[in-house]
Each structure stands twice: as structure tokens, then as C-alpha cells.
Subunit: 145 residues, 2 copies
């Protein structure tokens, strides 16, 4: 009886969950696109909006930065080299109901077109009021200091 | 009809899932205990066993290190200061069926008892053949270089 019900549950739940996975993939890709555009135009306030209100940024060489407002200020303060641009590339994504984990890599190109930095990141995403937002964000450079 | 079935599914599924969360919490705490013990005794092979065979380590200042064997060698090579000890502290844990995400902090104490380093990490865990193992592992120092 219990296993028959479990099978029934599976048939009811698997299809929406598959659709949800696709929705998460495209929703997160869209936010990553906005994140890159905000970074590349030096728009700290634009980046801040992509994080949950209670997000925590975990940057190298800094204590954790708590809350989307402080996170926006952090990024604004990092735009020291005008004209630098970042490219994020997703390597893996696992999605659950209102949560996702992403592993990716980044490359930063300097204003002169030269290679400035590259490294990797993990972002823990949360779906808040129907929108995917960065909840925890950690990265480090792969280059030797 | 569908919502009645969903309620029924919930009552069947919630209890095991809650129990699973507790199991994950204690299982991961146990592995973190072994990880610290291996680190503190300079046992790279012991650390390697705690990662999935296809794990990827994402260390600062290094390209990703792929596979538990290479990860063991990485840690073995990092035990340059004999007598240093690490303490991991879990800050957050979200568990799903065979996957979990953990945010934490670390403190490294030097052989002389002084503060050597502190920072934060995110680990993506996977449950493989009933055992929780580190699947993706990234961290960075909070200290200014």
C-alpha cells in the first residue's frame, strides 16, 4: 500500500519538478547575465538587487559582507579599474525546490584587453517571491599571488 | 483530487525527510570531525578518503584539483608547518535527498599557538553508498594578503 502510494506520489511530483529544474536553469542564467552587465558597467546598486536582502558575500581578503546593501557597496568599491570586464561561466548547477547550488568559473579582462584574473566560485541560490537570487557567494583566484 | 493526493504524499514523505535531515546533520558533522583530525595529524591520505572519487577542490591560488587522489596529495603538500591545527565551524547546512550545502568558517592555529589564518568555506556534499562525502570544496582567507 505504502509503496503504491509512493509510486503515485512520484508520478504526480516528478513532472512539475522537471519543469521546475528547467525554469531554475534559465532563471539563474538570466540573473547571471544581469550580474555580469552590472559588473561591467560599474553598477553596484544593480548588482545589489540580484542578492537576497539577507545575502552574505564571502570575498577573499575580507570578513563576510552581510546584506544586499553592504554587498552593493562592496562591489561598487571594487570597480577601481574602469573598463575591466568579467565573464562568468557555469560549470555545474543542481536545483531543488527553492534552492540551487552553482559552481562556475570567472575571467576578468583589464581595460587594456589583457588577462587580469581568473578563478572559480560557488553560489548558493534561493528563489524568493518567484525570483532566483544570490544567497551565499564565495570565490577565489586561481592565480598565484 | 490532486490536492488531496498531494496532502497524502506530504504526510508520507515529510517524516522520513525530517529524519533524513537529522541523519545528514550528524553524518556531515562526523565527517568534518574526521577531516579536522586528518588535517591536524598531517594525514593527506586520510583526508582524501572523505572526498568523492570525482570530487573537485577549488583552492585559492591554484587551478581546480580533480579527484580524491590528487586532493589527498594537495593537502599532504600543504602540511608544511608541522604542528598547525585547524578548526572548522559550521554556520549553515541545507540538506536534500543525497546532496547538502554547508557554509562554515575555519581558524588555523600555528605550531607556536599563534593565530595563523582564518576564513570561510562552502562545501557541496553528496551521499554516496550511504556515506556523506565532500564533492566540491571552496574556501578563502578573510585576512588581508
Amino acid at each position: 500500500m505504502r509503496s503504491a502510494l509512493t509510486l503515485l506520489c512520484a508520478s504526480i511530483l516528478v513532472l512539475p519538478s522537471f519543469a521546475h529544474g528547467q525554469d531554475a536553469q534559465s532563471g539563474i542564467a538570466e540573473v547571471n547575465g544581469k550580474w555580469m552587465a552590472s559588473f561591467n558597467s560599474g553598477d553596484g546598486a544593480g548588482i545589489a538587487m540580484l542578492y537576497t536582502a539577507d545575502a552574505v558575500l564571502l570575498p577573499p581578503g575580507s570578513e563576510p559582507v552581510k546584506g544586499s546593501e553592504a554587498i552593493g557597496a562592496f562591489w561598487q568599491g571594487s570597480f577601481t579599474e574602469s573598463g575591466a570586464s568579467i565573464e562568468l561561466k557555469q560549470v555545474e548547477l543542481e536545483t531543488n525546490q527553492n534552492s540551487a547550488i552553482e559552481v562556475g568559473s570567472y575571467v576578468i579582462t583589464g581595460a587594456d584587453g589583457g588577462h587580469a584574473d581568473h578563478g572559480k566560485y560557488i553560489v548558493w541560490w534561493k528563489k524568493v517571491d518567484g525570483s532566483w537570487k544570490l544567497y551565499r557567494d564565495i570565490w577565489n583566484s586561481s592565480m598565484t599571488p
